[in-house]
């Protein structure tokens, strides 16, 4: 237990450091935030000064950082320049879409790649194995944004099987309960809308899940191969146990340890890929929001989004660390 707390404690300087960097990055951007926010509106010098004061821009930088941390921990990131609403609200609105996409991609990556990796390791050296390895290499070497576009060109434009972009067809909207279309449509009993939502999800999920899946497959394969060489596998076979038990209980249990930790880290990285994929597919999530915000110079939003992304990433890495110790009895006890 104290191990856990120690690790948690070590996160603190990291989090502060990250917040500092994010804060500095935004503060040091060229351009006067007040000017940007006001845009073309005409204001008097006093109003401008009042606004500046209101935004705390007249304070020395360390005080600003302090306020920043204080506000941030309360979820207050100021108002979005573009939307004229609190940043947090805007982000929360778009969050479910991102979560839905990320979750689906993760699940797809895990449930496709891990079995493929296991099979590949078991059938090492065969045609099956070689083709899996090649596919994984391709998956890792392909730029996500290009892959998404190719998928759209093939499946949406040429074959017209799937929609080009967006999350759902307007006419099929349903009342929002969780914000996640897959659940909401089922709750509303609208099968047509459910299928529509699924169709919209397919291509982005495949694109986003591809890179993660490819890496996960490679890791599973390598880790499984390493495990299968171990003496305890030989001993298990010498006991006359069935192949299934040897492979999936004895071997996989040990092979999964590094695999799961990598999966946790990769999930954090999915967030980075999120922005691009969401932009390509017109997915109304936080990712595309951030990209827009960058171009609109909507700094409070960019700041908030970056901080949140980073927080999730750090938490995922931390989880990976903990998972590793929990899953490995040798380390745990």
């Amino acid at each position: 237990m104290e191990n856990f707390l120690k690790r948690l404690l070590r996160l603190v300087p990291v989090l502060i450091g990250i917040s500092l960097i994010v804060f500095l990055m935004i503060s040091l951007t060229p351009g006067d935030p007040v000017q940007i926010m006001l845009g073309d509106q005409f204001v008097t010098a006093e109003m401008e000064q009042a606004l500046r004061k209101d935004m705390g821009l007249d304070l020395p930088i360390y005080k600003r950082f302090g306020y920043f941390l204080y506000n941030a921990s309360h979820g207050n990131f100021g108002r979005s320049f573009f939307h004229r609403r609190p940043v947090m609200d805007v982000i929360l609105e778009r969050l479910p879409a991102t979560i839905e996409l990320t979750l689906c991609s993760m699940l797809m990556a895990i449930f496709v790649s891990i079995p493929l990796g296991v099979l590949s390791a078991v059938k090492k050296g065969t045609v099956y194995d070689r083709s899996s390895v090649v596919t994984a290499m391709l998956g890792v070497s392909m730029p996500g944004f290009w892959f998404g576009i190719i998928l759209i060109i093939i499946f949406s434009i040429n074959l017209q099987w799937l929609p080009v972009s967006g999350r759902s067809t307007f006419s099929m909207s349903v009342p929002s309960v969780t914000g996640m279309l897959l659940i909401d449509t089922l709750l509303a009993g609208e099968i047509g809308s459910f299928i529509d939502a699924v169709k919209h999800l397919i291509l982005p999920t495949i694109t986003l899940g591809m890179a993660m899946g490819a890496t996960l497959m490679q890791v599973t394969r390598a880790s499984m191969m390493e495990v299968l060489r171990q003496d305890y596998i030989l001993f298990a076979e010498a006991k006359g146990l069935k192949w299934f038990r040897v492979t999936f209980l004895h071997a996989l249990k040990n092979a999964l340890i590094p695999t799961i930790t990598v999966a946790a880290i990769q999930t954090g990285q999915l967030l980075g890929g999120n922005m691009i994929i969401e932009t390509i597919f017109g997915w109304p999530g936080v990712g595309s929001l951030v990209v827009q915000a960058i171009f609109n110079r909507n700094y409070p939003l960019v700041q908030a989004a970056v901080l949140i992304y980073v927080l999730i990433y750090v938490i995922m890495n931390f989880t990976a660390d903990i998972l590793y110790t929990v899953l490995n009895p040798r380390v745990r006890l």
């Binding site: 990250i18 935004i26 290499m137 730029p143 434009i157 390598a222 030989l234 992304y309 980073v310 990433y313």
Partner: protein, 313 residues
């Protein structure tokens, strides 16, 4: 796997698997590249040749390209590739929305990718080796500071960090390199630090200390040559990632700006025309794929050549 000594171990599991005789496990990764091993891996050789070819193309782009990449000709706007109807062998891969020859732009785009890839890796690896050696060998306060910085930087998902930096600094060639280096150096630093920690316990380092060699001498002459092989392997793998990153940034419009041709912004350009002119995006992406794939395969081959123990084939 190459076995030079054919005395098989009697141990069952060592024969059934491809474990190596335990006494070999104790050797440290020495900087000895087994050229024969590398050359026998035909795939890796082909991949390396492709990379070398790309470097040549990037240097001698004007000789390879048939047209000026920035020359616009609205008459041939969105002309399809040569083998399709309406195509023309003067523009083998077609033309983009401003009538610029796609093939020439791809050739010049090689410059961007190779230049960014090599510079970032070169600088980042340099910084990484320097900081890693200090952290690993001198330990103490140095290690604490460096490791904390590394942890903090590692706490950022790569793309977000780069995007945020580019948003802050503005686009441009130098800025991209800077933005990518900022985070990239931690990776070689971690590798170097880890290897240094291992290597410094080896006897010949102790021996050098015993005869009074200076810390700097030890770091440079004893430790460094022996940790180079994993560093090189990591560097080549990372180069592939950096190239994808640069193209992602350019795709978003945060990297190399048009009209300069970068594979990333070419794909972005073509997005608008997905419906009628798929070739504008597609070929640039294929170029990225080929180069990155070759780098990945070559670096795998390198890794096997340095240390056949880890061969999976």
């Amino acid at each position: 796997m190459k076995i030079t000594n054919t005395i098989p171990s009697d141990n069952i599991s060592e024969i059934n698997g491809d474990k190596i005789d335990p006494s070999e496990e104790k050797t440290v990764s020495l900087f000895s590249i087994n050229m024969n091993n590398f050359l026998s891996n035909r795939l890796a050789v082909v991949a390396s040749l492709i990379v070398i070819f790309a470097v040549i193309v990037s240097i001698f782009s004007p000789f390879f390209a048939m047209h000026d990449p920035n020359k616009t000709d609205l008459f041939i706007r969105l002309q399809p590739p040569a083998w399709m109807e309406g195509g023309d062998w003067a523009h083998p891969l077609g033309a983009d929305h401003l009538g610029r020859d796609i093939l020439s732009r791809i050739i010049f785009g090689t410059r961007v990718s190779i230049a960014v890839g090599f510079s970032v890796i070169f600088i980042a690896t340099g910084i990484g080796i320097f900081t890693g050696l200090i952290a690993g060998y001198l330990r103490g306060k140095f290690d604490l500071v460096i490791s904390t910085i590394v942890d903090i930087l590692l706490g950022f998902p790569y793309l977000i960090f780069a995007i945020a930096l580019m948003a802050a600094m503005g686009p441009g060639f130098l800025n991209i390199i800077l933005a990518l280096v900022y985070k990239e150096w931690v990776i070689p630093c971690r590798v170097v630090r880890g290897e240094t920690l291992v290597v410094k316990e080896i006897e010949y380092v102790e021996a050098a200390q015993a005869i009074g060699a200076s810390k700097l001498h030890i770091m440079l002459k004893e430790i460094l040559p022996n940790i180079l092989s994993p560093v090189i392997v990591v560097a080549t793998t990372r180069m592939a990632t950096v190239i994808i990153l640069e193209s992602s940034l350019s795709f978003l419009g945060l990297g190399i700006q048009p009209p300069t041709a970068s594979w990333g912004n070419m794909v972005a350009d073509g997005r608008e025309f997905m419906l009628e002119a798929w070739w504008v995006s597609t070929f640039a992406g294929i170029a990225i794929l080929i180069l990155v794939l070759s780098m990945n395969i070559a670096s795998l081959g390198l890794r096997d050549a340095f240390d056949p123990r880890f061969s999976e084939t």
